[in-house]
């Protein structure tokens, strides 16, 4: 043998077995070497592998095992000692590493196993989430359905459409077999099947409202599952299938009156409708919570939509009603206007037609009065005249009153003399008063303007009416009339609270008080006096010639003159006072561009100018002489007063225009005086006019006066106005136009 530290293999070199072992070892080594390569390759590929250290260990173990097997290949043949040593060391190393790995794996494997469990857990979770996702999606779908449903329901204001739409949409959304609505009847005691989804059922079913199942549903705002056998749910003919679940919900029927402005509507209306929903039979479907919620929401929406529809119906009805009323009112107004116009036309025509014969009667009766009549005839004519005057007044009153009430009466404004208005009223009332032996006094305040601007005719009417009333109701005593300018303190009268006079520069307020000592008026009756057709007492027959319109007309005239009228009395039998205030303009300061002087009364000219007119007065009575002289001086004449006729003849000159000769001077033949005066100025054209003054009215005196060439006769005592008119007559005509 050579020096080789060779080791003999333990077993004989059986070639076949040896060969197989040799090949197996080779392949094992190959595998062992390739496993770590694969591991490295795949670990490198995967980003996450937490056990690198283990891998290294395992890799080392494998590699060593492979190395061992590889080296084992050399031991099949004769091999040196080195090889044997290497082999041994390799085996030892492998043993160490493998033990270490084994120990390590004890720790590692549970971890690896738990990874698996976690993976399973996560998969389960994922599945669960998937399921939930599905649920949410369904809900969202449902919500969308609700919104769409609501939109459909609320897009119409027609009640029928609302309900029909509700049922249809609900049916569609929830896949219902049947959906029905029961409405309460008018009496409120029954529920009446109003709408169904599928059937054109005979909608005549009614169910009493007091069923327990219905009460149960009505008592809660939630949808309630009810038995398919309850009367409200028995809508389909009982089939052989299992009926699906049924749910019922209340639908509040809100009224207009439930909506307060700032509150939510109260749901204590007690009027509900019932909505019944049936799932398809035999479907094993169940009512889900979200479906129930959908139903509840829809029910509420329907309630609101219905109430809106109701409100709209109401307002449409109200509008129609208003339009009808408007049309009716318009018609009524036009009819009224026509009636008023017809009445005015009628009044105007009747007025004219009535006045014409009245005028004829009055005129002819007056003329008749002037002729020679026997006393009986005179009495008859006077009665005719009086009655016709009353009738004429009545006609005028009625026409005036109706025009006054329309407001179509307008005052005829003009300038007139206040003083003469009152005097004329006085003259008109004098005869009546003297017949009853009543005195009438008139007192005009000195600061009363002589002229005023206003409606003279109507003011006269008022004055006459008031004074006439005073005379009518006075049996003894008399009347006193006083007229003042009302000062601002006395204007605001506490007894006339509605009267607000406003003093101004262009106007003044005339206050007239007419006091009588007559029968008076009960103070409580005083307001009624001014009402139409009211007579305050049952009057003594003959003197009650009034229609009761007089004071009413006065009041309206006074109101038109922006004034106020009232009657005061302390009681029956204590007389009464009529007080009225009217607003009159001041002439010359108001806006009148042309002054229209309407004078009635003695003076036709404004102020006839007698200034400086030389006259002579002859009267033996000193008082009378003084009075006549004063009168003429007041009128502006230059007067020479003589006491005797002879002296007059002596002193009269051609400058004297008028000689007033008293013809009742005893011891003087005034007629001769007149003749002598005429002789004195026989040749001259400007001889004085002689006027007789006398206390007698008999014819002989008159005739004598006129015979001697006197221009006229004046009855003593002479008033200022009379003298004025006499003078103007004389100056204008040269003789007295109407001598008394």
């Amino acid at each position: 043998m050579e020096l080789c530290n060779c080791i003999e293999p333990p077993w004989p070199a059986d070639e076949l077995l040896m060969k197989y072992q040799y090949i197996s070892d080779f392949f094992i080594a190959l595998a062992y070497f390739s496993i770590p390569l694969e591991l490295i390759y795949f670990v490198k590929k995967s980003a996450v592998f937490p056990y690198r250290w283990v891998l290294v260990q395992f890799g080392a173990f494998i590699v060593l095992c492979g190395a061992t097997h590889l080296i084992n290949l050399w031991t099949f043949t004769m091999h040196t000692r080195t090889v044997a040593v290497v082999m041994t060391s390799a085996k030892i190393l492998t043993a160490v590493v493998s033990c270490a790995t084994a120990l390590m794996l004890v720790h590692i494997i549970p971890d690896l196993l738990s990874v698996k469990t976690r993976e399973l857990f996560l998969k389960n979770k994922a599945a669960e989430l998937d399921r939930e996702m599905g649920l949410i999606r369904t809900q969202e779908e449902t919500g969308r359905h609700v919104r769409m449903l609501t939109h459909e329901i609320r897009s119409t204001l027609d009640r029928h459409t609302i309900l029909k739409t509700t049922l249809v949409e609900l049916g569609r959304t929830l896949g219902l077999e049947e959906c029905a609505l029961w409405m309460p009847t008018r009496t409120g005691l029954e529920l009446h099947l109003s709408y169904t989804l599928r059937h054109q059922n005979p909608v005549g079913f009614t169910v009493p409202i007091q069923l327990p199942v219905i009460n149960q549903v009505f008592n809660t705002s939630h949808a309630v599952k009810i038995s398919p056998n309850s009367p409200v749910a028995r809508l389909r003919p009982a089939g052989k299938y299992m009926p699906g679940e049924v749910v019922a919900v209340r639908v509040p029927l809100l009224h207009l009156s439930n909506f307060q402005i700032h509150d939510w509507p109260e749901l204590s209306t007690k009027r509900y409708a019932l909505m019944v929903l049936m799932l398809p039979s035999d479907s094993a479907r169940q009512w889900h919570v979200h479906e129930l919620e959908l139903v509840e929401v829809v029910a509420d929406q329907v309630a609101v939509a219905l109430s809106h529809a109701a409100i709209l119906e109401e307002s449409m009805r109200a509008r129609d009603l208003l339009m009808e009323q408007n049309v009716a009112l318009d018609l009524a107004r036009r009819e009224a206007e026509t009636a008023v116009r017809a009445r005015n036309d009628f009044l105007a025509v009747m007025n004219h037609e009535m006045r014409t014969p009245m005028h004829a009667i009055i005129a002819l009766s007056s003329l008749l009065q002037e002729t020679e009549l026997t006393p009986e005839q005179r009495l008859m004519v006077e009665t005719i005249l009086k009655s016709s005057n009353i009738l004429a007044t009545l006609i005028n009153d009625v026409l005036d009153l109706s025009r006054l009430e329309d407001g179509s009466l307008q005052l005829e404004i003009g300038t007139f003399s206040l003083h003469s208005l009152f005097r004329e009223a006085l003259n008109l009332i004098k005869p009546v008063a003297s017949v009853k032996k009543l005195y009438v006094t008139l007192s005009l305040s000195p600061d009363l303007p002589e002229y005023a601007v206003g409606d003279e005719k109507r003011l006269m009417q008022v004055v006459l009416n008031v004074v006439g009333n005073a005379v009518k109701f006075t049996k003894e005593g008399g009347i006193s009339i006083s007229a003042f300018v009302a000062k601002s303190e006395s204007l605001r009268d506490p007894r006339a609270p509605d009267f607000f006079p406003i003093p101004s520069d262009n106007h003044f307020y005339l206050r007239v008080e007419v006091k009588d000592t007559g029968s008076g008026v009960n103070p409580q009756d005083t307001p009624k006096l001014f009402m139409k057709f009211v007579q305050s007492q049952p009057l003594a027959a003959k003197n009650s010639s009034g229609s009761g319109l007089g004071l009413a007309i006065c009041k309206r005239f006074v109101n038109l003159m922006e004034g106020h009228i009232r009657i005061e009395s302390e009681g029956l039998g204590r007389g009464s006072t009529a007080i009225f205030i009217v607003k009159l303009g001041i002439p010359g300061r108001s806006n009148e561009s042309k002054l229209s002087f309407i004078h009635k009364g003695p003076a036709n000219q404004v102020k006839p100018n007698f200034s400086g007119l030389k006259v002579v007065v002859v009267d033996d009575n000193s008082v009378g002489r003084m009075v006549t002289r004063g009168l003429l001086v007041h009128l502006g004449c230059d007067v020479l007063a003589i006491a005797s006729g002879d002296e007059c003849i002596r002193v009269v000159t051609h400058e004297h225009k008028v000689v007033f000769l008293d013809v009742t001077m005893p011891g003087t033949d005034s007629f001769e005086v007149a003749v002598r005066i005429h002789e004195k100025f026989a040749k001259r054209p400007d001889r004085p006019i002689i006027v007789a003054l006398t206390g007698n009215t008999d014819r002989t005196t008159r005739e004598n006066c006129l015979r001697v060439g006197m221009a006229g006769v004046i009855l003593k005592p002479v008033s200022v106005d009379k003298m004025r008119s006499v003078l103007s007559d004389l100056l204008e005509h040269g003789y007295l136009v109407e001598s008394q």
Partner: protein, 154 residues
Amino acid sequence: MEVDQLQRSFLEYSRLLFHEGFLDGQFSQLQLLQDESNPDFVLEVVSLFFEDSERLLNDLTIALDQQNVDFKKLDAHVHQFKGSSSSIGAQRVKNVCIAFRNLCDEQNAEGCLRCLQQVKQEYLLVKTKLEALLRLEQQIVAAGGAIPMLNEFC
């Protein structure tokens, strides 16, 4: 205010006089004649009337005192009295004068005597009243007011 009261009293008094027939419309005519140029007209006339009347009454008394009453002269005086009283508006006096004249025509001395008494009475009455009225007028004027007008009446 005092002026107002005075004026009112004046008016009331005047009304009273008219009402009782002492005065008639002629008196108010006299008042009308009183103005700025003639402020005392009424006073003058009334004073003249008083003078005249006293004289006439005297004459009447003397005339009726005679044994043989001269009715013509009586009548003349009464006529005068009637004239002045009617010029001044002393109504009652005037009325008595009218009656007096009728009695004179009848030449009834007894009646005339009675009438004279009546005339005297009436005259005295009207005199007192006129004096009172004139005093009121003076008071009003003194207080600075205007004398209110009392116009016609019946």
